[in-house]
């Protein structure tokens, strides 16, 4: 087991945001978390990557308890996140943004160079625009940069927070193709998505979050066919397609 959350509770002030989340991610999987806005998906990811303090519960990464480990240390352990809203450093060039991904890897220049080649291979657009400031990229390019930058950390587990947000359908499909490809190359992925249809189609397993609790978990394909899930998250009311 690569990642394991057991009964994780998180508070914002006095309001409970996560009410006991338990989930697992196995080596080599794509696991997706779906649910409505405000269900606690992003909070779950931020908690895993050390940005939100845990009230109670355990988080194990490669068997080690990582609760309380600061975010910047977790990166070195192999946890990378492409944050919601992409988090591109707008004043930095594409190349500098990618270099930020390799910020902690000062002792492995060769591996970094190899990863850079891999990122440019996955996203040729980024190579074309490597001197352009991140803030001037289009939404799709920014998302590519966010994922590419996360890959530059040399991750064992890649956390993706709504990679489809604000993207045109064509681009969404393209981004998900690349996500699938990254997984095929051997990186485990935990994916949070609003676009449940796409996420369920790409993932191996899925969890459904509702108001800070996991209400369903199953193989992604099974949830995709489930009527109640369709109704709630796939716009089931919007007629049958």
């Amino acid at each position: 087991m690569l990642l394991e959350l057991a009964d994780v509770v998180v508070h914002y002030g006095k309001v409970q945001a996560l009410k006991g989340i338990s989930l697992t991610v196995e080596q080599g999987e794509i696991v997706t978390l779906i649910g409505g806005n405000g269900a606690g998906k992003s909070t779950t990811l931020k908690t895993i990557s050390g940005l939100r303090p845990v009230t109670s519960g355990r988080i194990r990464f490669e068997g080690k308890d990582i609760v309380g480990t600061p975010a910047h240390t977790l990166v070195e352990h192999g946890l990378a996140q492409a944050p919601e809203g992409r988090g591109i450093f707008p004043g930095m060039s594409v190349m500098e943004n990618l270099e930020m991904g390799a910020y902690t890897r000062t002792k492995a220049p060769k591996a970094v160079a190899a990863d850079l080649a891999r990122v440019f291979d996955l996203f040729p657009r980024l190579q074309e625009r490597r001197k352009q400031p991140g803030g001037t990229l289009s939404g799709g390019e920014q998302q590519m940069l966010a994922i590419g930058r996360a890959l530059m950390t040399g991750p064992k587990l890649l956390l993706l927070d709504e990679p489809s947000m604000g993207l045109a359908p064509k681009l969404v499909a393209q981004i998900f193709d690349i996500v699938t490809e990254i997984n095929r190359q051997g990186t485990t992925i935990l994916l949070v998505e609003q676009n449940a249809a796409q996420a369920l189609r790409r993932a191996h397993r899925a969890y459904v979050l509702e108001t800070g609790r996991i209400v369903r978990s199953d193989a992604a394909a099974a949830l995709l066919d489930d009527d109640s899930v369709r109704a709630a998250y796939l716009g089931g009311d919007v007629g049958e397609r």
Partner: protein, 666 residues
């Protein structure tokens, strides 16, 4: 009054410090007794003191307390850091000195002028600077304080560096002589304090005070609820400045000579220290803080303990101070840091300010991912349906017609005509036209980032559209300020809930009702009939609205402690309270579970049936389709479809854009 009733009365005030809370809860006889003893001590005790101590009691003690109360209006109530407060003290003192010596005015006659000139100085400084960010404001006020001092220093008619001497004492009044003896001035200062306390207390519990609290907590949300944030801040500045001017008059008339060095920057910081030490926003705290800061060094100067501390400090710093007064500012500086680090709310805190200062933390965004407590939600839903049932049965005040709906003319409530909003080169919405008719529930859907919230922000004046126009009830409101638009009849909620987190639920809704009120500072001070009427009806209406949205039981709870679903409801109540003709709801179902969503659907329908037009941004398709009369679909800032839900569900482009699966047919 029963204990419970008194406790309730205490809570009704909304913002209350523990001393006042204790006070209100005591038996009336006890309160009288305490007040009598207190008054006796304040009035009688100085008679027993030495003349030297009496002098101290006037200056610094009484003057500091007065100044601290004045600065507290600015820093504590309005949350504006003023680092040049001493300037107003100086303006008051110089006005008095100049008029009495150069123009031979009677000292008493200069009193109103000194206060007025200081007030004008406050407005003159505030008008150009109050739109600045808080930390910039601090530096600008500091600069202003220095400017006043430098001007005095370089103006010959104000005596230049030597200042003004021989300021006449006030003439005797009713046999009381104001000469060299300190005691009459002390009592005069007590009168000034009484007046100031009356003013700040009156305002705190009025529309003005609530506005200040709202501005402090979330300026944008306050603006959106119709608070004239700028005017209210200016009032705070002006009132603070007048108190400063009053203190300046007192000082000048007692001490009879002033010069630029009487008003150093240090003075401003000492008064700030008094406010911070006592507790920003808490009257009792501020008085105690100023008393301590003024009296302690004087007391310790000759005391053995003071000598002991001085020796230790000399040893630490290598200095050769003889008395502790030389370490005064050093200790105050250290105290400021220590207070902010260990007890930012002050020694006798105001409850609301304490909550704001102690743990803002990541909760500042109050709602991100928060979730409600199931049981309470069930309760709320039950309560709501009960409330609705009762309403149908008898002529309870909570009737549908009781909603404060603004009068509307014509069928088109809101129109967007080819509105475009571009940020730099990025076009967030492009030539969007919409027409919302009266009594509709109008849905706006689209993927994240499609520009839905941008529409709301353009309509409510947060953004000024790049081109196109927004028309409300036939009136063009494009580009008006948010509070004007709220007054014109548009109310909104926010995607990421922006309540005033440390105010009670009732307080939040009261800020909403205040949008329809007119009472400003003079009305509240004089207790004019309109003020009393507005307070009464506003409160009754706020309570009704809380019942209406189903959280009446939580009216005295602090907003941040409400469950997620209740916070959403409270936000709706606050918006309706402004008396809109149209209500904009930004993702009201976000973070709700199915039970809560059902409750919400009922509530939205109920609101529509009460005569309000509703525009709804939502992600939850089920909710949109079941509640909306008409739906517009946005994608990449463009409207790609509009029609009744049934039609929208069949639209190919909608399915493609919204579900994002068209080119990946499985």
């Amino acid at each position: 009054m029963s204990l419970a009733a008194r406790a309730a009365a205490a809570r009704r005030v909304g913002v209350i410090d523990p001393v006042s809370r204790w006070w209100v809860r005591q038996h009336r006889l006890l309160r009288w007794a305490v007040a009598a003893v207190g008054l006796l001590v304040v009035l009688g005790w100085p008679l027993l003191l030495s003349r030297y101590s009496q002098t101290i009691l006037f200056f610094p003690v009484a003057v500091y307390v007065l100044l601290a109360l004045g600065l507290n209006v600015v820093v504590g109530s309005a949350g504006l850091l003023d680092l040049g407060y001493v300037a107003f003290f100086a303006v008051g003192a110089y006005t008095t000195a100049s008029l009495t010596t150069s123009h031979h005015w009677a000292t008493w006659a200069t009193l109103p002028v000194a206060v007025l000139v200081a007030l004008v100085a406050g407005v003159v400084l505030g008008a150009p600077t109050l739109r600045l960010r808080g930390d910039y404001l601090a530096i600008v006020t500091l600069g202003f304080g220095e400017i006043v001092r430098i001007v005095a220093q370089n103006t010959d008619s104000l005596g230049g560096p030597r200042g003004i001497n021989n300021i006449p004492h006030p003439a005797s009044v009713g046999g009381v002589d104001f000469e060299l003896l300190p005691l009459p001035y002390y009592y005069l200062a007590l009168v000034a304090l009484g007046v100031t306390l009356f003013v700040v207390t009156r305002l705190r519990d009025a529309r003005v005070g609530r506005s200040w609290a709202a501005v402090r907590e979330d300026e944008d949300a306050a603006e959106a609820m119709g608070v004239h944030t700028f005017t209210m801040k200016l009032w705070a500045f002006a009132i603070g400045a007048s108190v400063g001017g009053l203190a300046g008059w007192l000082y000048a008339s007692k001490v009879t000579f002033i010069n630029p060095d009487t008003f150093p920057f240090t003075f401003s910081v000492i008064i700030l220290a008094a406010v911070v030490l006592g507790g920003m926003g808490s009257r009792a705290g501020v008085i105690a803080g100023a008393f301590a800061i003024a009296a302690l060094p004087e007391y310790l100067r000759d005391a053995a303990a003071g000598q002991w501390i001085t020796d230790r400090l000399n040893w630490i710093t290598g200095g050769q101070a003889r008395t502790i007064t030389e370490y005064r500012v050093l200790l105050f500086g250290a105290a400021l840091v220590a207070m902010m680090v260990f007890r930012p709310q002050g020694l006798i805190p105001s409850r609301q300010r304490a909550a704001e200062l102690v743990d803002a933390g990541p909760t500042a965004g109050l709602a991100t991912g928060g979730t409600p407590d199931e049981a309470r939600v069930e309760d709320a839903v039950e309560e709501l349906s009960e409330a609705l049932a009762t309403r149908a049965d008898d002529a309870d005040p909570v009737t549908d017609a009781a909603l404060p709906v603004a009068a509307t003319a014509g069928d088109r409530v809101l129109e967007l005509r080819e509105v475009t909003m571009a940020f730099g080169g990025v076009v967030a919405m492009s030539e969007v036209s919409l027409t919302v008719e009266r009594g509709q529930i109008f849905g706006i859907i689209g993927p994240n980032g499609a520009g839905k919230t941008t529409i709301f922000n353009c309509v409510t004046g947060v953004f000024r559209p790049t081109s196109g126009s927004v028309v409300l009830n036939g009136r063009d409101i494009t580009g008006q300020k948010p509070h004007r638009i709220t007054e014109a009849g548009i109310a909104r909620t926010f995607q990421n809930i922006r309540l005033f987190p440390n105010m009670s639920a009732l307080g939040n809704v009261l800020v909403g009702t205040d949008a329809r009120h007119r009472t400003s500072v003079p009305g509240a001070l004089l207790g004019l009939p309109r003020h009393r009427r507005e307070e009464r009806t506003g409160r009754a209406e706020a309570e009704r609205l809380l019942e209406y949205v189903g959280i009446g039981a939580h009216r005295h709870d602090v907003a941040r402690n409400l469950s997620y679903g209740d916070q959403r409801r409270l936000e709706i109540a606050r918006a309706i309270a402004t008396g809109p003709s149209i209500l904009l709801l930004d993702e009201p179902a976000a973070g709700m579970n199915p039970t809560e969503k059902r409750g919400l659907i009922d509530l939205i329908r109920q609101i529509r049936d009460s005569g309000l037009t509703v525009v709804l941004i939502e992600h939850d398709m089920g909710l949109v389709m079941s509640v909306c009369d008409r739906v517009a679909v946005l994608d990449f800032g463009q409207k790609i479809a509009e029609g009744p839900p049934a039609e929208i569900q069949q639209d190919e482009r909608v399915i493609a854009a919204y579900l994002g699966v068209a080119d990946d047919a499985s």
